[in-house]
Symmetry: C2
Subunit: 120 residues, 2 copies
DNA sequence: TTACTACTTATAGTATACTCTAAGTCAAGT
DNA sequence: ACTTGACTTAGAGTATACTATAAGTAGTAA
């Protein structure tokens, strides 16, 4: 009866079962359908959303922002513009973060290459 | 008598005074010399280190890693190889993080450009 | 001298994102 | 029937990085 268990999802995306339940509780994914015994059965759509959430979390988007985005989505089509604005804001913040990290990367690389000349 | 106050450093680097004292307590900077009244007076070398720490923090290097690096530095020249290894490790981790963020950036950009086609 | 402001310390509190524990349920194998 | 193992929940605990509070000191201006 159960097709995709939390165990399988956990292994596929390298997220702990606790994290998957936590994301669900926080409204980032799901609610996941459960069988008669209350056991979760993930759909393909659930998996696609998990992949998206994982990707965004790895880029530093907060739980709060992702929850807000999903909340807007659930509110209906009329929130589309607001959702796009939210995504644009996150995209711009991400761009700046990437810039800072690339700057740090260059500094680290220089420091490693010229270590003897460094102060610390 | 005092040349560079915590107030000035705070404004120059856009770090709160609390954060500057916190970094010092955690061994990331200083110890900063204090005048007879116990008030901090930052040197140019202190500032350079603060700038480095700020840059590395903005890239996500942890307090723990930066403390460890400074601890090794204080231990002496013989820790040089270990320090370089530490920096190389952080550089590689940073590279991977930049990759993940660029991936998320592209996904976000695509989602924004093709919003109507998206699922959420 | 008094008032004000900026500094000091130690310690407590907050935000974020998990991560773990306890107690219990359920289905399958022996 | 019993044991095993994976699932469930609610809620507590942890790690990281600040951030705020309280109580006190020191220097300056009126």
């Amino acid at each position: 009866m159960i097709k995709i268990t939390i165990q399988e999802v956990s292994e596929k995306y390298n997220l702990t079962k606790d994290t998957l339940r936590y994301y669900e509780k926080e409204g980032l994914i799901g609610p996941i359908t459960k069988n008669a015994s209350g056991v979760r059965d993930y759909s393909e759509a659930d998996l696609a959303r998990i992949e998206f959430v994982k990707c965004m979390r790895s880029a530093g988007l907060s739980i709060g922002v992702l929850r807000e985005y999903m909340r807007l989505y659930d509110e209906g089509d009329y929130t589309k513009d607001e959702r796009i604005k939210l995504l644009e804001g996150e995209r711009d913040a991400l761009k700046e973060k990437i810039r800072l990290m690339q700057d740090a990367y260059k500094k680290l690389e220089f420091k490693i290459q010229n270590y003897q000349k460094g102060i610390w």
